[in-house]
Symmetry: C2
Subunit: 302 residues, 2 copies
């Protein structure tokens, strides 16, 4: 029998392999002129944990899914949005980061103008993919389901930008835990929740109890993810993290450890994790994949 | 009886007043933190000719329209995309423009980071508006129609970015007329055609002859618009144009006048205009508004 760590790694590794393939297939479906094509590929294929696609797949597998193609498109679309946000975040006028996942950032490799445009087109490509027939093997997914996915993605993308602004505004200031949570529920939480919900609408009607349960789950892990990120920024070394560690403290960023102390922050991450697992109870054994990813998010070292 | 010029001005002025109101209503529907809110308002409310919304309204009025709310949302969404593209184009890493429509550009007024984020959120807000119930007075518009609108908008937005890249690549190079047309069909033509088509799908089924006729119309005026822009860059003064005139020649940009001479470029604009009017013949008197806007596009001085 494999250890718990092996099982966790297995569930995520499988999702990572799947999304890697689907991202490449999706990118190949677009005719993009160079050097933009190179920049878009760079921004998307840099790697990363692919947590959002993994959550999307896992939520889409809560029962036999006739709309599996829509889940795969959603996973690609949400990762495109995530990658666009990273390319723009790294720009000199934002975080001015030179290194991401141990690689030169998009603007370092391709220039600022091309990195800006790569982010821009990744956002519209996300909506193109979502509305396409990519991965379809059977009849088209109902328009009302696709429309819901688009609404979820668009709203989460806007929230992400709002969170970014709230975050910039808070730099160098002392803020309350409520204000910090508001930043993170927008900046990272919204897109993580969206990954779960875009799969949820392919399986469950709006009236089903499953919908609020999955929203609760998504919101809890969305926040837990950020708390864990803040903790890792303090306890990890640059080498393991793949980006400059300790950067939050350098720029006097409000973080959960700064606000409540490291041990309290760890306890809070655990609370949120328990809350997420609690919401999954409704689905019984079917939630095994989601539960594994949740475990991973709390135990990750980078 | 009013002169032709008065009639032209009237049709466009009416659309400009309508879109001004609808843009404000749409912006009010979003909770955006400062300073982003100010930057988004600045980017959207700077004014401009509002050609895309005017085309959208006019195409949506080709017959009695039960989906009028979807046309209004499309007009707002397409203008949001246009305004996002201007905010990003003006950034220092792109055109580094300080002035637009006689006003400081978004990054001059709000800083580069906020202007970048204003463009980013305007893109997702466009898709949010399109998928919303804003302006609805009757039952919801069919999901399949809204989905088509989203597909059209997403594809056109991606093309716009591709055109931008092709344009940057062509700077300082001698290119063929085919290459120049390819740039403009993507960079400006795609969004102008989309303005027409997003209204078209609220009225006509895919099998209707009206659809290819309107596409032909949109493509012809999309290109005519750019040819006229190139001509105006040479013949207008900065004061009338509201932006720095003669800029194309400064940066050795390929333009229609540079490629074929000023007189030939004027004749080409007229050809495209005739082609557009020809495509409208199918609709008879119903196309009066579209025809007026077409007249304006060729006779405009800025």
């Amino acid at each position: 029998m494999s250890s718990l760590t092996d099982v966790q790694a297995h569930a995520l590794t499988e999702a990572q392999n799947r999304i890697q393939q689907d991202l490449l297939t999706a990118l190949d479906a677009f005719a993009i002129p160079e050097p933009l094509k190179g920049a878009v590929h760079h921004a998307v294929m840099l790697g990363g944990k692919r947590v959002r696609p993994a959550l999307c797949y896992a939520a889409g597998a809560l029962k036999q899914n006739p709309n599996a193609a829509a889940v795969r498109r959603a996973a690609v679309a949400i990762e495109f949005i995530h990658c666009y946000s990273l390319a723009h975040d790294d720009l000199p006028c934002m975080d001015n980061d030179l290194l991401r996942r141990g690689q030169p950032t998009c603007h370092v490799a391709f220039g600022e103008d091309t990195a800006l445009l790569a982010g821009d087109i990744l956002q519209s490509m996300a909506f193109e993919i979502l509305g396409s027939r990519l991965f379809d093997q059977g009849p088209a997914v109902e328009a009302s389901i696709v429309l819901k996915q688009m609404q979820i993605l668009a709203t989460a993308s806007s929230k992400m930008v709002n969170g970014q602004v709230l975050d910039l505004q808070a730099e160098g200031k002392k803020i309350t835990q409520d204000a910090l949570e508001n930043i993170h529920r927008n900046k990272t939480g919204a897109l993580i929740t969206a990954a779960v919900m875009m799969a949820a609408v392919t399986l469950f009607e709006g009236t089903d109890q499953a919908i609020p349960k999955l929203r609760e789950y998504g919101q809890a892990i969305g926040l837990a993810f950020q708390v864990q990120d803040d903790i890792l920024d303090i306890v990890s070394e640059t080498e393991v993290l793949g980006k400059t560690a300790g950067k939050d403290q350098q720029v006097e960023k409000s973080t959960y450890p700064a606000l409540m102390g490291l041990e309290q922050a760890k306890a809070y991450a655990q609370d949120l994790h328990n809350q997420a697992i609690g919401a999954l109870a409704y689905f019984g054994d079917k939630a095994e994949q989601l539960s594994q990813i949740t475990q991973f998010l709390l135990s990750r070292k980078s």
